[in-house]
Subunit: 487 residues, 2 copies
């Protein structure tokens, strides 16, 4: 198994280093898709501009073209792409999705990838379509697992990527993932999800990622095929995707569409391009419109790559400072369909699973973004522990929050009194001794959040009172609400 | 009065053109602050890099320095700054806030601005501090208005900026604005708000902007002094701010802080800079850290300007496509203190005022961002008109939304029936004949919004039923909820 070293974590995301024959990939990594027939931007130019040392190309396209096949067999895929960094290859599975079938044996195309010197070769798995019925999906999973087992035997030095299929059926994904986990391979792509991303069915995308990831070995990197628009990158990474490939920089450019961190715009809809990347700082919208088509496409593709790679940097920074959930929720604010995906994560079993990977503390404060913030694993953990561990000593006094940490205002009262003091916080009730626990004191909220979040906190308080059969006692209160100091 | 031509509008924002002696400013405009003592980046370089033809400098600093004063009097301020674009000058009011007082007569400094050839000169108004009591604030307003009246008489060709003061007292702001509106001047800055922005007291900032703007002539541009971080630009522009100045590019750079569209980061906290501007594409974090201090400061300042100006472009694009509220709410998602400001706008009288400036339709769809989205003026308008205009013909049938426009599913049933059909939408009930009205059909929501928004829509339905004394009749329903098609 390839060496995959994990350096830092936040949620299920990790900053890691994966060793391959042509160098080390730092994860989370975005691998731009290179079309061997038409290189809009050459891999070596990408490396210089974006410091990216890995890409992905399609071995089936190379295999099907006599000239490319011969060249890559004699000189190697690295020579064909004029690139000596890491090259991952896909197997033709995506072509089988597009055209219905592919004209090659699965072992043959896997060996071909090995023989042309691919660093990471992918098995020819069977693409489960989102509307495949259960019987079809199950059959494809069984066949995919069989192919994986036979393929990895001949992988040699090449890393083997064994894809998890199973359509939108969680149990089939789980079963496929478990079987794949037993196989001696290196990377697990989540497959069959491109149609979900193309139609922005992000809740189902998340269902596929989660039910695969839950059952895969933690020690292996997860790849997401065809990750599309960068707006979905943070969500994928937060759920444990370590590597993604994307051809959207080129596909969008062909339609004269600009990728932005917050969406997409057609060139024809813009008089000024709201961007400062080197492309957009050099040429303006008018000049782009007047360029010849080819040059325009190349420039837009470059712009799109600038955006994609700076978004990846932001994701890495968020992992390091522990603010990846904030970033995911920020993207959900921009695209309501990502909210649907976050709703899916509110299921009890998923919250429980996510909570297991939650760090004890973070470098950055907890920021309230929207109602979804109150369903983050750290909030779930706090509320669960509070209810299971905290036993009021008898009566309790319930107080409003004034400033943070709450002890600043209430500690003296608490020390003088035999009664427990519990503060009403947006996280639920906070017994005074816990007031410096992360993220209670290190949190930023608006003066009012939203009614749903307020009711959620209220419910936790009521549960606490009921469970311990206590009633809050009335005491006159001092101090006024002033949280600005902490902001 | 200077010529100010309005080209496009969204909310209270406008894209306009303001004529000055040294050229036309396209609004909304960001004027970088130039320190005449230390030009980190020369105005002419800014023009080349950012296509910015206007800036602001401080006439009081020029006046106080013997050498600068003489030079600017003999050769003009444009020669001093080596810039032949638009130069606005401030008067020393900000220095009086910082140092307690300034050592110059108000008429003298206003005439000085005229004499050095400033394009837009500012009166020496009295800075009302946020914690000034009412008596002090009132005295300052009276004196400021007096000074404005005396100053504008001598303005000659220079445009005169007459600042609205009044502290956090809405009635004083209103009174000051009304008085200023009667004076023959060209621009109205909202003054005394820098301390609010420095402490991110955005709800009070909005209170000051709104109570000023409400009472100023619509035909004149509004300026915001010291607009700070770009995260607040969209909110200011949405409330009618046409021009802003900001020195934060330089102030942040001095502390080695990078401005981003989503916040601020210290250089020392980053291993990689999540940005693709020409500066960050040329040098990386390590190289920046190893540079000499001066060069580093200059590079960070350039980066900060790249961000500020591309944010301004995004604001303009949002105005043109009618999505500025979405942008404001997106920023509020990133910074909870901007949510406090949006809460302030939910006051009935402000909603009513905002609604008056609401266009009939927009180019872009309505996107749900968070609970604040359901308090946008367009939603307020829809609900108000629905309750005042729509009279059910007798019974009504209440239906769930299936797809949009709702008529696709329900029109036949409606045509066959004598009963009105009303669809439960996130905007409140929608009687079938109104289903194609903006933004009902042109809207994007997650499958579930949030409880507060759901209850708001429910309340509007109940109001409608009560007001018209009708009860919904039960009818078996067909069709299933599937809104994905429109996404």
């Amino acid at each position: 198994m390839a060496k995959f070293e994990i350096k830092e974590r936040d949620c299920l995301s990790r900053i890691g280093r994966l060793e391959t024959p042509h160098g080390t990939i730092e994860t989370p990594a975005l691998l731009p898709v290179i079309n061997p027939n038409k290189m809009l931007i050459e891999p070596d130019e990408m490396r210089k501009l974006f410091i990216v040392n890995a890409n992905i190309t399609n071995s089936y396209i190379v295999y099907r073209r006599e000239k490319l096949m011969r060249m890559s067999l004699s000189e190697g895929i690295h020579s064909l792409l004029k690139f000596d960094g890491v090259i991952m290859t896909d197997s033709g599975t995506f072509q089988s999705h597009v055209y219905g079938s592919v004209d090659v044996d699965y072992l043959k195309i896997f060996k071909f990838q090995r023989d042309i010197g691919s660093d990471i070769g992918t098995i020819l798995d069977l693409f489960t379509e989102p509307d495949d019925n259960r019987t079809t999906a199950k059959r494809k999973v069984i066949e995919t697992v069989k192919r994986a087992k036979k393929s990895v035997v001949v992988k040699d030095k090449m890393l083997a990527a064994c894809t998890v299929q199973g359509g939108v059926y969680e149990d089939l994904r789980a079963r496929c993932a478990e079987e794949m986990g037993k196989i001696d391979c290196d990377i697990h792509p989540v497959g069959g999800v491109v149609p979900l991303m193309e139609n922005q069915r992000y809740d189902e995308l998340v269902r596929c990622i989660v039910s695969s990831k839950m059952h895969l070995p933690l020690s292996r990197p997860i790849h997401l095929f065809g990750a599309g628009h960068p707006i979905v990158f943070p969500l994928a990474v937060a759920l444990g995707v370590d590597m993604m490939d994307s051809s959207s920089y080129a596909k969008y450019a062909r339609d004269e569409r600009f990728i932005f961190p917050w969406g997409t715009k057609k060139l024809s809809d813009m008089e000024e391009i709201p961007c400062n990347c080197p492309v957009c700082s050099r040429v303006d919208a008018k000049e782009l419109k007047e360029m010849n088509k080819e040059e325009r496409e190349r420039n837009i593709a470059l712009h799109n790559l600038y955006i994609c790679f700076s978004e990846m940097k932001r994701i890495k920074l968020s992992i390091k400072e522990g603010s990846l959930w904030e970033l995911v929720e920020e993207k959900a604010s921009i695209n309501p369909l990502i909210m649907d995906a976050l709703r899916f994560l509110e299921r009890e079993n998923i919250k429980e699973w996510l909570e297991r990977f939650e760090p004890v503390s973070r470098k950055s404060a907890f920021f309230y973004i929207n109602r979804h913030s109150m369903h983050r694993p750290i909030v779930y953990r706090y509320q669960k522990r509070l209810l299971s561990v905290y036993k009021p000593s008898g009566e309790i006094i319930v107080r409003e929050e004034v400033e943070k940490p709450y002890g600043r205002v209430y500690r003296k009262e608490w020390e003088r009194s035999k009664t427990d003091i519990v503060i009403k916080s947006p996280f639920g009730p906070v017994p005074l001794p816990l007031d410096e626990m992360y993220p209670i004191a290190q949190s930023v909220f608006p003066k009012m959040t939203d009614k749903e979040s307020e009711e959620l906190a209220e419910r936790v308080l009521n549960k606490l009172l009921e469970k311990n059969k206590v009633k809050p006692v009335e005491k006159p209160e001092r101090g006024k609400r002033n949280l600005d100091i902490d902001r």
